[in-house]
């Protein structure tokens, strides 16, 4: 087991190098000069530009730039961005915010999605099941930004139950509304997946055998249906973590959350290679670790899956 974890962690290295290289290249290949873009209408002297270029290694060829970036990375010197702020500080500021948002969204989609899906699956064909199915379809069909603006207007502005925007003072409470919007689509998928899985397992032979043993229905559902039904759901939840981080760009923009999404968007607009790559690198790490966790959870839920040497 430990060997499996170690091997998976070692796999992070090529994944990490590959993604950073790719992202670095894409930023490098963006048309336009990032330094000139910084100054807008009043171009600075050529000397200033040359000095800035040298400071950010922009006059070096691509491989040298990438090599310098890696060297800095492994010496924990992420450098500064175009506004002069250390990139490490920026990361330390934005990641906790997005992490809070993602965790809230994950709880909403996980807990509520599984609970609703379980009830709907057990009462297949009933009123609850039918209405939940229709509603989840509606949620899946509406784009996040429409849902975001609609809830912002309804709950934030008209009903006044929550602050319409988050701003710089981020608290768990203030993130609930954005988290609902962020987790909504995945919530609908988790619900449907759980429901389908529960229905399938309710018809499984071993569930009938469990009933034949004389177990009460509640016991049959909790020990025999739920655990087996969670296996595909957990896989989906792990994969959706990446979508949560990525989807945060839109949600953070709507609710003015000072998180990763917002920062990444700004950095891309400014062609700020080092910042973009730094943020993406952390996202890659999160994604890889989340998937490792899913694999471990998977083995715990399903003993037929054992990671051998």
């Amino acid at each position: 087991m430990i060997q499996f974890i170690l091997r998976r962690l070692l796999q992070v290295i090529p994944v990490f190098l590959g993604t950073t290289l790719l992202v670095y290249f894409m930023v490098f290949a963006l048309p336009g000069d990032p330094i000139r873009a910084l100054f807008g209408d009043r171009p600075p002297s050529e000397a200033v530009i040359a000095q800035l270029r040298q400071q950010y290694n922009l006059d070096e060829p691509f491989w040298v730039q990438y090599g310098l970036f890696l060297k800095n990375l492994f010496t924990f010197n992420l450098g500064v961005d175009f506004t002069g702020q250390p990139i490490a500080d920026t990361l330390a500021r934005v990641f906790p915010v997005t992490a809070m948002l993602a965790i809230e969204a994950l709880i909403i989609q996980g807990v509520f999605g599984i609970a609703f899906g379980l009830v709907a699956g057990l009462r297949k064909g009933g009123i609850f099941d039918s209405s939940v199915l229709v509603l989840s379809l509606v949620v899946i069909a509406i784009p996040t930004f429409v849902l975001g603006f609609a809830l912002q207007l309804l709950i934030g502005v008209q009903l006044g139950w929550a602050k319409p925007t988050v701003g710089s003072n981020v608290t768990w409470g203030s993130l609930i509304l954005p988290a609902v919007v962020l987790g909504m689509v995945s919530f609908a998928y988790v619900l449907r997946l759980t429901r389908a899985s529960v229905i399938e397992n309710m018809n499984a032979d071993y569930v009938r055998t469990a009933t034949a043993k004389g177990l009460a229905r509640r016991q049959v559902v909790t020990t025999h249906v739920l655990r087996n039904s969670l296996i595909p759901v957990i896989t989906y939840l792990g994969a959706s973590l990446g979508a949560l981080m990525g989807g945060a760009i839109v949600t953070e923009a709507i609710f003015n959350v000072p998180g990763v999404g917002q920062k990444l968007y700004q950095a891309i607009l400014r062609s700020e290679g080092p910042t973009v790559v730094a943020i993406v690198s952390v996202l890659v790490l999160v994604f890889v670790l989340a998937n490792l966790l899913v694999d471990l959870l998977y083995a715990w839920l399903d003993p037929r899956i054992r990671y051998e040497n």
Partner: protein, 572 residues
């Protein structure tokens, strides 16, 4: 019931009162197209300590009747009429609470398929423990181990900590028997408890089940499709056909003197009871039971001596991964040699894991032998070039076990049968269609079948389609890998008859892979018995069946359900 003298009578002689009595039971299912009656007027009686078997083909309502007795009808099924009396109490409409009290404690169940009836994510011990716990019995690790040990599971304390996937099929079935009997129920419902297992394992399990239930004084309701098995194990047999009980009575009596036409057909075509090879009917349209003529057997066939297939010292070694690039060798087939004469049927028998299917795959050239030769019509098949392999495939065709899995659900029957012709570029569109029509005629399917899809056909019909597809290229050799194992007995008899008829008409050679010795008896001229990759015995079918040389073959023959039952020749 209200009068006092009746009460006195009942309490005085409980042994005289049936433990389970089913009266005029009707069960219906609500489907998309309305109510469907699955069981009508079913009646049966089980006395305490008695074993009663319900026999019937799939869809006869036998399992439905048994499930109703333990209140486990599927959601769309309901008891539409009649009574299920358990020790005098009508439980046909009992509350769920009452049923939970009864299940496990009073009525136990051993389900059909050991592979799917244990929850894969819980340890065996946990699954026994929860049964004990739910029925208010001591459920410590020792109690769990005791229950498992009683069901014949060796090293029970350690095995209780394992998961179902670490158990063989037979072991799982023992665990399920342990669960079913753990609370010493008065009635045990055993729904095809061994149909998924090898014959020798089947015999051990049934012997053990019989011993346990007779020790505990448990009544058993045995559900089976195998008349031989039912007659051997049960005191009474109830025959169900299309939802009706058509006949019931003491086992031997019913077997020797079947009254109902369906029972007569069942007795006649039960493979475990048939004792002679199928002789090909001279005329068409003869009912299947008339085809089972006792007598001459193989001798009646024209004797062919040319060996179309020669298997020489064939071996197959698989590498099993054992971590860190290491591997251990697993010898699936070990130095096997035999010849197959043209126009005859050779059967390879053995249990799962004996290597018989691996041999078939190598003969089909789907798997490369590790060593040894397969000589087909004088040519070593391992030396064939791709183009020659293509031509070889035309002459050697397979029919596989699962008629559900081996036909493409997206192809209609015409396309399925026509595909090999198209692939081998034989004829034009019109002549191919003509050929497909001929093939359907040959396998006795109506030509309207062409436009239908596999899911619209029954298992027997699908296997006929698979045979038609195999015949499309006019092959010389057909490899049947458990080709009739998934079929009900009557359908099985029909398909075996069809195969025999095609053989005599087209001069086909069959290599028949099966675990079922009863089937071998009906179809094969020669038998090869395999055990753990080795060929342990070969000979003509009559030699092997009448004078088996090896202990393993004897054990296999002994394990055929009903083998020990003696029937008057006019029945068999």
């Amino acid at each position: 019931m209200a009068t006092s003298d009746v009460t006195i009578h009942e309490t005085g002689t409980t042994a005289d009162r049936p433990l389970l009595e089913i009266r005029d039971l009707a069960i219906s299912f609500t489907t998309g197209s309305g109510e469907v009656q699955a069981v009508r007027n079913a009646h049966l009686t089980i006395m305490p300590g008695e074993t009663v078997a319900i026999v019937g083909e799939s869809g006869s309502g036998k399992s439905t009747t048994a499930l109703a007795a333990i209140g486990l009808l599927p959601g769309n099924g309901r008891v539409a009429g009649g009574q299920i009396l358990l020790d005098g109490e009508d439980i046909s409409h009992a509350s769920e609470k009452r049923m939970i009290e009864l299940r496990g404690n009073i009525i136990g169940m051993v389900p059909q398929d050991p592979m799917s009836n244990l929850n894969p994510v819980w340890k065996i011990g946990d699954q026994v423990k929860e049964t004990l716990k739910a029925n208010g019995r001591p459920s410590g690790p020792d109690d769990v181990a005791k229950v498992l040990a009683q069901a014949g599971l060796p090293d029970a304390a350690r095995r209780a900590k394992q998961y179902p996937h670490e158990f063989s099929g037979g072991m799982r079935q023992r665990a399920l028997i342990a669960i079913g009997l753990s609370c010493q129920p008065r009635l045990l419902i055993a729904d095809e408890p061994t149909s998924a297992l090898d014959v020798t394992v089947q015999r051990q399990i049934l012997d053990h089940l019989e011993k346990m239930t007779s020790e505990l004084g448990t009544s058993v309701l045995l559900i089976t499709h195998d008349l031989g098995l039912a007659a051997e194990r049960a005191d009474k047999v109830v025959v169900m056909y299309r939802g009706n009980v058509v006949e019931a009575g003491p086992s031997l009596e019913l077997l020797q003197n079947p009254q109902h036409p369906y029972t007569q057909r069942l007795v006649a075509s039960a493979p475990s009871l048939a004792s002679r090879r199928i002789q090909v009917a001279k005329e068409h349209g003869v009912a299947s039971n008339e085809l089972l003529v006792p007598g001459e057997g193989v001798a009646a066939k024209p004797v062919m001596t040319e060996d179309v297939l020669q298997i020489q010292n064939l071996s197959k070694v698989f590498k099993l991964r054992a971590g860190f690039g290491k591997s251990t060798d697993f010898t699936a087939v070990d130095d096997v040699s035999f010849n197959v004469k043209r126009g005859t049927t050779t059967a390879i028998v053995g249990e799962s894991g004996s290597g018989k299917s691996t041999v078939a795959q190598m003969v089909l050239n789907l798997l490369e032998p590790t060593s040894g030769k397969i000589i087909f019509d004088g040519v070593d098949t391992s030396a064939l070039k791709p183009k020659e392999i293509f031509a070889f495939r035309r002459r050697v065709q397979p029919i596989f076990q699962d008629p559900y899995g081996s036909l493409d659900p997206m192809y209609n029957i015409y396309r399925t049968i026509e595909e090999p012709l198209r692939v081998h570029k034989i004829g034009d569109k019109a002549s191919r269609e003509k050929k497909v029509r001929e093939l359907l005629d040959q396998v006795s399917l109506p030509q309207s079948t062409m436009q239908r899809y596999p899911n619209e056909l029954s298992g027997g019909q699908r296997q006929r389609v698979a045979i038609a597809r195999a015949l499309a290229l006019d092959p010389e050799v057909i490899i049947c890998d458990e080709a009739v194992s998934a079929l009900d007995v009557l359908v099985q008899a029909q398909v075996l008859n069809l195969l025999a008829e095609l053989q005599s008409r087209l001069g086909l050679t069959y290599l028949f892979i099966t675990h079922d010795l009863a089937v071998v008896r009906q179809i094969a001229d020669h038998v090869c018995v395999m055990e753990k990759g080795k060929l342990v015995e070969t000979g003509s079918t009559d030699e092997v069946f009448e004078a088996p040389q090896k202990d393993y073959t004897k054990a296999l023959l002994n394990a055929i359900p009903g083998a020990r039952l003696m029937l008057p020749p006019e029945v068999a």
